[in-house]
Symmetry: D2
Subunit: 344 residues, 4 copies
């Protein structure tokens, strides 16, 4: 049994990790930590977990010591030091934060106002989006788990971009996220009476996930890609819907596009390519590691539209982290992740 | 592997059954049927099930033929004929409808305007509330699965009633249910804009679950019990919260009550008796087979208050049906049912 | 024009007051104050108010100086000093907090852990539930505006109690409130992902509104009344539904009850007595000053059930405060309050 | 007093019209009709209206006879005949449906599969978007009231387009609508358990409002404009948020854009141009006739982003219809429409 530990277990991503790891047949949840709730059981913070996960929060040190793999669900900026400790101890480290996602320190400085404190580790880090970079992840010890938007948008666009079916200029990602993406800490904006029956955009064309998406898409296109990214906040708990727009190259047909996506994703367990006439819906992927993708075309304007839906807490965070763990340890990639999304 | 079939698979309870059975290690979902969607895959009706359960709906006959156990999730009145077929074929039949729940044909006629078409079968039927009537269910072939309210209320009151700690007169069950309890068929009242931001009582002191609760509580008390039952409709998908009030007998203390509940439920996997200071919440049992119960007392007025929470679709329908199947087949009762409720 | 001022204008009740007063034909909103947002426009705190109420928050002193009537929407305990200032200045003072609601200092101490700092003022204060105590309110200068639960429950029970149709013992008020009742300040419990799809009881038989309801009902019954009160929190913004249970006296019929309510409320603009077969619903009173009441009976158990619905922020707070202002100033009671509840 | 009538009063737009007209100081709601509910009071269909609007539904003929202005809230295709009757009788006719919105019969045939049965009337019809075409509406007798999306999108883009600050090619309107836009009739998709916690796009690049928006924008640009329009369905009752993307022309700055919008909308009561740093939110315009607009720019990609928010049932339907009535009758345009949006 792999001994797994979670640092930052009482945040939403951490709690979801504990839930998913509890159902993994080859994992034992060995230790968890939380700065805010040290000494308290996870089930005191989340009464839903009562009798299912009554593990008590310890310290980061205890987690590192007891675990073969350490998942970190920490605020940005706090993972580098921990990564170094895990690396030194020969442990696998999977970071759900942003510290190791960007390859360029310059961009990291610009968007996160932070620097690479352990540049040598950044060279070891791999970007954990398995459907696009699987070979690079297998057997690795330092994995940067992508953010939620940065999973949904590249998966929606990659096959069309790789084939050169869409223009690299003028891509637009209009995304809508459930509230859990903003974390467990109460804020005025996420106070129930203020968010309920509300809908708005935020950080318009200024969200930190922008350079991360561009990095992924540039790798796929093998040349620089820029995009316009506008996130919105949905009054629902879970889910991200990404509506992505790109100009079609001359002569590209729906058949060519569909074929490209079938080729890219036909063998992927976690990607469900929807049939013509269907549209991806966050409802259908909740509590699962699926990414649903539907393809559309506006022939009147020559626009390609790809809609993707994920559960921001599963494929957009904890589920994908476990998928990466499976790759790192050489397990079958879907182990513990065949989560059946409920109908309602 | 037990071959299981679901008649009425495209209704909410039926669909939930298919999801839960798909995760049961000793069951194969052999066949499903639906009058409205014959010939269609379940995943066409519920796109969430795409790739997870693409079974095609056949006929009732096919289900009976292919299955060792038949679950029926049908409108009231349609189960008796099917039960007779299953009985004749030697199959286990678990009815999620109301046809076999009431022992008294008179009450059945009064509340359901229907009669016992197969009186001999009604003698064979057992009432499937395992935490109260486990021994009667084991190894049986015709099981009437309780309704949702009728699971939540008796579980909340049984230990106090059995010990004679509360008066049998004047019991009040003020219950609040999520919308899935009303089924898949769209109605004006459950149209999104009409139900959203709404809350009301319905069938005030006139709901069909009343005699069923009274039957259970009368068995527990070993003498006739009547209660006032008022259901309300909550703008949420899943869950029932039952707030039950009863007059305390002289001299009964909180310690005595708590001890009675520990004694009754301490060994029950699916009942979580909450600690003092906590209150049962539907959020904490969603997507699980748990029944959370919290105990309270109004010393100023001598009133006992028990609050119970279940997921109406799991412990209140499909989950409990599988629990009954486990009992019927002699399996460990929790097999396939250790469902971990998500934190959000 | 009456010059009106609001102290604590940026809380939910204060903001709602500003909105309602802005539509009152005989009132000018002269000044508002807020400790947290002094110097900021109300529309900066609530962007919905942009161009409609851009008044800047000043100090409490400024409000008292500029206003003929001062509404206080302050946390409990802060109103007594302010009331004294207003009284000294000859102004009308309407308190939306609890400081002047309880007549007994002993009960105030027990439930609020506070004492009467100005006992002489408490003698002047009247309890502002117009439908029950109208004559006492007219022309008065110090009015204690009832809380939300304490409006909904007494209005539901008063006519039956006054006529002696129900027992004074064993009354149960099972109430369900929208989230705005808990105020503007974000908390873990009201964080969107935690409250959404949730439902629970809180402060079971221990809520501060209990003695206030008992005080009102005791006045109506002209002898001490105790009741069991259990509040619940609904995942909706606005509304309170009170489901009230009482034992019927022998021989009381539905006709007698209905007649008693018609007699008591037939002339009340703000009380809508629903027809037989209908049930009060919070949806139907949102954004209005109405209290809808429906009457029911469980003949099997001899139980009277009255269901009332109000908008907790209007009839349960700001609207009723304006109604009291109208009475204090000798205006037609409905002035500025004929608010039409939307259908959706 | 203007005698007003509503044909199709029991649909959502019709009911909202009745509510708004009831508060209009120069209007008397003279008659209403409904095919489905003839002979029933509007308050039987919408219990929220009890005591506020108990008018009984009559026939279309009665409405035409008793009214000076007839509002039609009918399914597409049913307004032409009624318009002819009103025209013949010299009445003002305001159509909330689509029959008179498109100038080109060809487009009407393509998108609505219907033809112009009274071509001479189509020549008389004016398009009732007052902020863009006010002069054409004043004093007119046949007004086509725009749809909801077709109000939100053109208002968001018109000033930039008129000034030539954005490219006419490649405009994208990613829109999100509340559920009331889909009407009162229950459907599977809008059944509460299916829509709650869901979010998806629908009619991707194939919605009937597309040619209507293009018609308006082409008038503004004085040359053909095409756009890509993707609507989404939000799990909220009211509101439309339109996120509009367009490529900026060389040298255009945020200052120039802001100035253009100030110039266009500075004097418009119903348009609130938000300050820099704010983003339009459907919450802030609910129950009001406001259109909030915020302006944004993605300098990295040269993209202009305008976000607009309206209440789909008010500025997107009933409120705008009354605004058009005011223009038709020479009243002050804001009469009866200074609706104060609640904070929550």
């Amino acid at each position: 049994m792999i001994q797994a530990g979670v640092v930052g277990a009482t945040g939403y991503a951490g709690a979801e990790l504990c839930r998913i790891l509890s159902g993994h047949p080859q994992v034992e949840l060995a230790a968890i930590s939380s700065v805010s709730f040290e000494g308290k059981a996870l089930s005191e913070v989340y009464p839903a977990y009562f009798h299912m996960c009554d593990l008590v929060c310890g310290t980061e040190e205890q987690v590192v010591e007891k675990s073969d793999v350490i998942f970190a669900a920490l605020p940005h900026g706090l993972s580098q030091e921990l990564a170094a400790k895990c690396w030194a101890a020969g442990k696998v480290f999977i970071d759900l934060g942003a510290d190791f996602r960007l390859e360029s320190e310059e961009e990291y400085k610009e968007w996160y106002e932070n620097s690479f404190t352990h540049p040598e580790l950044h060279k070891e880090a791999v970007y954990g989006l398995p459907e696009l970079f699987r070979e690079k992840i297998q057997g690795k010890k330092l994995i940067a788990n992508p953010g939620c938007y940065t999973t949904a948008v590249p998966l929606a666009l990659a096959p069309a971009l790789r084939k050169g079916y869409i223009e690299k200029e003028g891509i637009i990602a209009d995304c809508k996220s459930g509230v859990t993406g903003a974390g467990r800490k109460p804020t005025q904006g996420n106070h129930y009476p203020e968010l309920n029956e509300s809908f708005t955009a935020y950080k318009v064309a200024a969200h930190r996930h922008t350079p991360e998406m561009e990095q992924t898409l540039s790798h796929i296109a093998d040349s620089p890609v820029k995009l316009t990214f506008v996130p919105h906040l949905l009054p629902v708990n879970r889910g991200i819907l990404a509506t992505c727009y790109a100009r079609l190259k001359e002569g590209v047909t729906m058949e060519m596009l569909r074929e490209a996506y079938e080729e890219a994703y036909g063998g992927e367990y976690f990607i469900r390519l929807l049939k013509a006439g269907q549209v991806a819906n966050i409802k259908n992927v909740r509590y699962s590691n699926f990414c649903d993708i539907s393809l559309h075309m506006d022939q009147r304007t020559g626009t390609f539209i790809a809609v993707s839906a994920i559960d921001n807490m599963v494929k957009g965070a904890a589920g994908q982290a476990v998928q990466n763990m499976n790759l790192a340890f050489g397990l079958e990639e879907t182990t513990g992740l065949k989560l059946f999304p409920p109908a309602f």
